[in-house]
């Protein structure tokens, strides 16, 4: 379908926006024959996410694209993060029910608590993401005089290590650990969830590790493939709908 092997590291944000429009049209045509599975809500079917961002503004999109391409670089194992649909996945997750705080107890009073008490911020995941991107970019401006998306790979690595170890602290009081764990969770979910949500495009995440997906009748296989690799055949929800 789309060119998964595109390895152009210099592929910029605006180029991406343009190509996403073209890619979207291709994707729409290719998936027209597939019905959207029940419960998939308004997620695009198949491997081609609809173009455009539903939640992220331009600066946030630039941040997320830079982040996912740094965390998931293109190599022989998979295309880079944006080409796997990770930015689209994150955008859709933040724009949807989860991002808006579905299934989150949101009544005060609000106290920081201790880590074993879990999430205690008065923010929906989308609000947290927004505030965290702004705070990270503020840190980057202060340290490098550039926003995160304009940093080189070494500097990006430095920032991500600072976030993940909580060596960076945010001046505005947003807890960096909570922001980072949310970011990390969404990147992983984008890589490995079913492609109907916009990430794991062309099942690249599943192919990378050898997870067959929805095919799930292994009553025979558990004997037949004892200590053997299952022949590659990767099936997502859209393929069976």
């Amino acid at each position: 379908m789309q060119n998964e092997e595109k390895k152009d590291e210099g592929f910029g944000r605006r180029d991406f926006l343009k190509s996403a429009v073209a890619g979207g049209a291709v994707a729409a045509a290719a998936t027209a024959a597939v019905t959207v599975p029940q419960g998939a809500q308004a997620q695009p079917a198949g491997n081609g996410p609809a173009p455009g961002y539903a939640f992220l503004n331009l600066d946030e999109a630039a941040f997320v694209e830079a982040l996912v391409d740094h965390m998931v670089p293109a190599d022989q194992l998979s295309p880079k993060g944006t080409d796997m649909g990770l930015a689209i996945f994150i955008d859709r997750a933040l724009a949807g029910g989860w991002g808006k705080g579905d299934r989150l107890y949101m009544q005060g009073p609000w106290k920081p608590g201790v880590p074993s008490q879990g999430y205690q911020l008065p923010l929906t995941p989308a609000e947290l993401y927004r505030a965290g991107i702004a705070a990270t970019n503020a840190h980057c401006m202060k340290t490098y005089s550039k926003s995160f998306d304009r940093l080189d790979a070494t500097q990006r690595q430095e920032v991500l290590l600072g976030l993940s170890s909580a060596k960076i602290t945010f001046a505005d009081g947003l807890p960096v650990r909570v922001f980072w764990s949310t970011v990390y969770q969404t990147v992983i979910e984008g890589m490995f969830s079913d492609p109907i949500y916009g990430g794991n495009r062309d099942k690249a995440g599943w192919k990378m590790i050898g997870f067959p997906g929805v095919i799930a009748n292994h009553a025979q296989n558990i004997i037949k493939y004892r200590d053997k690799k299952l022949p590659p055949n990767f099936v997502g929800i859209a393929d069976m709908s």
Binding site: G118, F192, V214, A216, M240
Partner: protein, 591 residues
Amino acid sequence: MPKVMKEVDAVIIGLGWTGGILAKELAEAGLKVVALERGAMRTPAADFSVPMIRDELRFTSRNEMGQNVARDTLTVRNNPSQEALPMRRLGSFIPGEGAGGAGLHWNGQTWRWTDMELRIRTMYEERYGKKYIPADMTIQDWGVTYDELEPYYERFEYTAGVSGKAGNLRGKIQPGGNPFEAPRQRDYPLPPLNQSLACEMFTDAAKNAGYHPFPRPTANASRTYTNPDGATLSACQYCGFCERFGCEANAKGSPLTTVIPIALRNPNVELRTHSWVTRINKAADGKRVTGVTYINTLNGEEIEQPAAIVVLCAFVLNNVHLMLTSAIGKPYDPVSQTGVVGKNYCYQTAAGATLFFEGRNFNPFMSTGGLNVTVDDFYTNWAFDRAQYGYVGGSHIFGGMFHGRPIAYRPMPADTPQWGSEWKAASAKWYNSAMSINASGSVMANRYNYLDLDPTYRNVFGQPLMRMTFDYKPNEHKVGQHAAQAINDLAKTMNPTLMNPATARTDPWSVVPYQSTHNTGGTVMGTNPSNSVVNKYGQSWDCHNLFVTGAGLFSHNSAYNPTGPVGALAYWTVDAIKKQYLKKQGPLVSA
């Protein structure tokens, strides 16, 4: 003023495993039963069909089968000096919501708890002396014995379609089963599941080490099965979407494929979904309950349902909450150690190692909810001398993986970076070439682990949330240290290429990562009203027409999963109601 309905013979609060059993059995005894379930009705055909159900993001990351904590949750803290704060999203445990309850998205692992649990204080005192049990460890005998429960265990195993191999048939040790189990009259209804490579490798290593490995008994049907009630289960497909998912193949023993549809075909049963019970109503004299009050969550209307008998089947946490909000029984106070409702809340502990074998193919995604091999040498084996480790209880150790769903399961050596090409390479290299060995450990009751009402936070109905005060105590740390050591010793004999060793947990209990939905206690059963909420039949000491089911009856937690005795006790309670209570309405045990 709430709308008042016509009185019925019995009202059942919650329609999961225990509610399903009670509804079916009481209706068959001729009682007019109303079952009130806070969630929706579900059917496997509509709600668990493929491909929709094979969605890790939806059902695992977003926990769609779990309770919606935006409406009702609890507050948590590790000890009474902390301020409890709300569990704002699901994590450590995932109570169910909707017909079938947690019995839909459970794994199916089904155990018989023996007298080592049911007579715990007596047995430890006899063997190790009174002083062996720490002063703040509030364990007590349950008031019921294994011999009394044996037929009811069998009843539940045959209802749920448990696959397994007997280890002790009427006193004779059987090869291939758990030699430490208590004697059973009949073997499991189904033979064990097909074993995975991890199961086989673990079995060999465990045998070489002198342990007694056996396939864990689990309600994942190893072949097509029709249970004694005529409900049919299909054979398990080893799809790897079991825990947290409904079963598309109807192969997981769940109330929705067994007791509930049978109950609902009986004209004596009326199910009202979207019916959230907020209170059990007490009679003026306080000796009986008169029924329940609930909210129709489709329109907000408050409704009163009078009933001659009320059965609390809403899962341990909600059962305790309803007892507290309805002011039935005296709330437990850890300072004076008086009161009973909320006392002896327990959980479980764990340790685990990941073993990497270059070039092997474990295919973790070909699995099911209970596919592992277990050694019980450090648990129900009473001959094992705990005094050398100084703990009460213990752990059992098992090899095998229940799934290979990739958001959650990507084993990697501990020193792997968290992102980048090296991380990708490690994910790819080890996904199919790793196996795990885990231990599940008991948690003994402690004076300071308990449930009560939170002074600050409320649910959407304006009721106080329940407050959970819980942490692991020195006993659990000792269990964890021994378990980690035993796992690592065994794992090393398997010569893995690399290994992430097991470590005993030292950090406080956290509400964040999923651990298990094996919450116990709070409505404990016991020998008299000063030490328990209900008698040995699950009957409230305060109000004789109120019966309580579920793992809240347990006065401590075993290393085993809870639903074997939850199911057995539900059948035991039903029998007591049918054979004794209906004949003479009053306390079944005199206080």
